[in-house]
Amino acid sequence: MSMLEIKNLHASVDGKPILKGLNLTLNKGEVHAIMGPNGSGKSTLASIIAGNDAYEITEGSIEFEGKSLLDLEPHERAAAGVFLAFQYPVEIPGVSMMNFMKTAMNEIRAQQGLEPMEPAAFLKRVREKQALVELDAKLANRSVNQGFSGGEKKRNEVFQMAMLEPKLAVLDETDSGLDIDALRIVAQGVNALRNANNAFLVITHYQRLLDYIVPDVVHVLAHGKIIKTGTKDLALELEAKGYDWILETEKA
């Protein structure tokens, strides 16, 4: 059974179709990269997987471990093991990082029928995961993403992912706005979490990220559907030739 199976997905926002028959299959232990030009629907796909109700699903299905994801609320999807690393992490003044993470972990545990995590175990885990992404420990005492630099916000996303240990992580342009060092640290965190039981869907514009997070499969998304699938070499080819090449090939 596939971990994620998207079939003929059609979605629109304010009546405007964005996804027009997207198909995608992701198995345990795999890393898939989705590349594509601006406006092709990459972030829409990420949002829909996470459960953003701003988008209307007009046709198709998304199954996660054999169950329909579309029937679940966003927090239920998170408890099932789906994680979205935001392209633009939201600043939430007044909600401290620690309170946020503790609430998140304990609510997920409650949905899974588990007891809340012991404070000492929670703190230990926070320290471990902060070290993994080299996140300044002081940031844990600040409000969620408030006053964080662009790089800190992205590292914070990977820190949260490390804390929650999802089965499927969708990284929505996590490389955007990162310098080389930050990119390396973020990728290092992702690679450390990668194992045979989870899967990653990495959305990016650039091949650069894929030098650090090596994908098993690369898809090109354009005009609301996957138009080409290949290996890591496809990303290199796109980098060299641009998207026009593939769009013209598709047209022909």
């Binding site: 966003p74 927090h75 939430i92 007044g94 309170n99 998140a104 609510e107």
Partner: protein, 388 residues
């Protein structure tokens, strides 16, 4: 040249200043700035019925709890006899303009209902004391509590659950040089209750008044505060947290008068309104001509939690001095949908996410309360937003 404001003859548009300065003694009207959003007729008819006979059966406030040695709790007569410092000013304040534009004819303060709480000079009260509300009140008389602190006296005062029935209460605060008063008010009114109050404050040199109030419940509440900073380095801090339940109206009015140079004031207001709940804040900063180096700040933020809820802010800055730092800010919004989605994506249910965001919104105000009271108000807000 010093202006005697009481002799000024206001004409034309400036005539509205009469209302701010308390020169107008008529029945309040929604056309007046300080009563703009208030259901004046509902409040006035209930609180000041013209056909109600005046009653002499008036029960004043009982003895406060936890009164320490040295603190005096007196009737007005006793306080006058003892020549408590500042008592004459306090008495005149009640008799004259103090009732925030209310006509004395509508609501005379019952002389026998006045109680005086006096903290002598240099007495530092470490433990907070609780001033219990009057047990019962006739519908035609107001009660009054006069809190007077001598030089360098310190006091923390709780005023819990003021309204279990319709009422008007008056509080005078007089702080002598270097005195510090922290006043925590729990203005939680019983359902259907109409509740109004007025605080008149006078803060001397280097003295500090901190007023924190929680407003919730009742049919309608309207609370006004007028503080005059009368000496250099005088400080006033006002925090108000207003939680308008469905069909509930909460209105607060503040007039911060900087009468002396180098004084400082802060107003920090948070408003929440649920379905059909209305909340308003009208706050004025008045800086007199010679009040140079004034620092005055006002911030009001509102969150409309459900459709049909309404909030209003009305900041007014009237500045005559030219070397001052004054600012005001007002924001109104609803729960941030993006923040809600972000929290949900981390496994937090929508209800918990809303609770987190609302608690974060009001936390800046909650932290102004005396530490021992903070958990009480956090619990109250959690209970209030449970059904959202």
């Amino acid at each position: 040249m010093e202006l005697d404001r009481s002799t000024l003859d206001f004409k034309g548009p400036a005539d509205r200043t009469r209302h701010w300065t308390g020169l107008n003694k008529g029945r309040p009207s929604s056309k007046q700035e300080e009563w703009k959003y208030v259901p004046v007729d509902v409040l006035m008819d209930a609180l000041y019925p013209t056909d109600s006979p005046s009653s002499d059966s008036f029960e004043p406030r009982p003895e406060p709890l936890n009164v320490q040695t040295g603190i005096q709790f007196l009737s007005l007569e006793q306080a006058l006899e003892a020549e408590i410092p500042g008592i004459q000013n306090a008495k005149e304040s009640i008799q004259n303009a103090a009732l925030d534009g209310l006509a004395q004819a509508y609501r005379p303060v019952n002389q026998s209902g006045i109680r005086v709480l006096y903290v002598p000079s240099n007495l530092h009260c470490i433990d907070p004391i609780t001033a219990m509300p009057a047990v019962a009140q006739s519908t035609s008389k107001a009660e009054a509590l006069l809190v007077l602190l001598g030089e360098n006296a310190h006091l923390t005062l709780f005023l819990p659950h003021e309204a279990q029935s319709n009422r008007f209460s008056f509080l005078y605060v007089g702080l002598d040089k270097g005195a510090k008063l922290e006043l925590n008010r729990d203005l939680a009114a019983a359902p259907g209750t109409l509740f109004m109050s007025h605080i008149q404050g006078s803060v001397a040199e280097s003295a500090e008044l901190k007023l924190v109030q929680w407003m919730q419940g009742g049919q309608a509440q309207r609370h006004s505060v007028q503080v005059s900073l009368n000496g250099q380095q005088a400080i006033a801090r006002i925090s108000s947290l207003q939680v308008a339940e469905p069909q509930n109206q909460l209105h607060s009015w503040v007039n911060m008068i900087h009468a002396s140079p180098e004084a400082e004031s802060h107003q920090n207001i948070r408003q929440l309104s649920k379905k059909e709940g209305i909340s308003s804040f009208t706050g004025k900063i008045h800086v007199a001509l010679d009040a140079q180096k004034t620092q005055a700040y006002q911030h009001s933020a509102a969150m409309v939690l459900e459709e049909g809820g309404r909030t209003y802010h009305r900041p007014v800055l009237e500045i005559y001095a030219d070397d001052v730092k004054c600012s005001h800010g007002a924001t109104t919004g609803s729960l941030d949908e993006q923040a809600l989605f972000y929290l949900q994506c981390r496994g937090i249910s929508k209800a918990s996410a809303k609770r987190l965001l609302i608690e974060a919104f009001i936390e800046g105000c909650i932290q102004d309360f005396y530490p021992a009271l903070q958990s009480h108000f956090r619990t109250a807000i959690s209970k209030s937003i449970q059904q959202l």
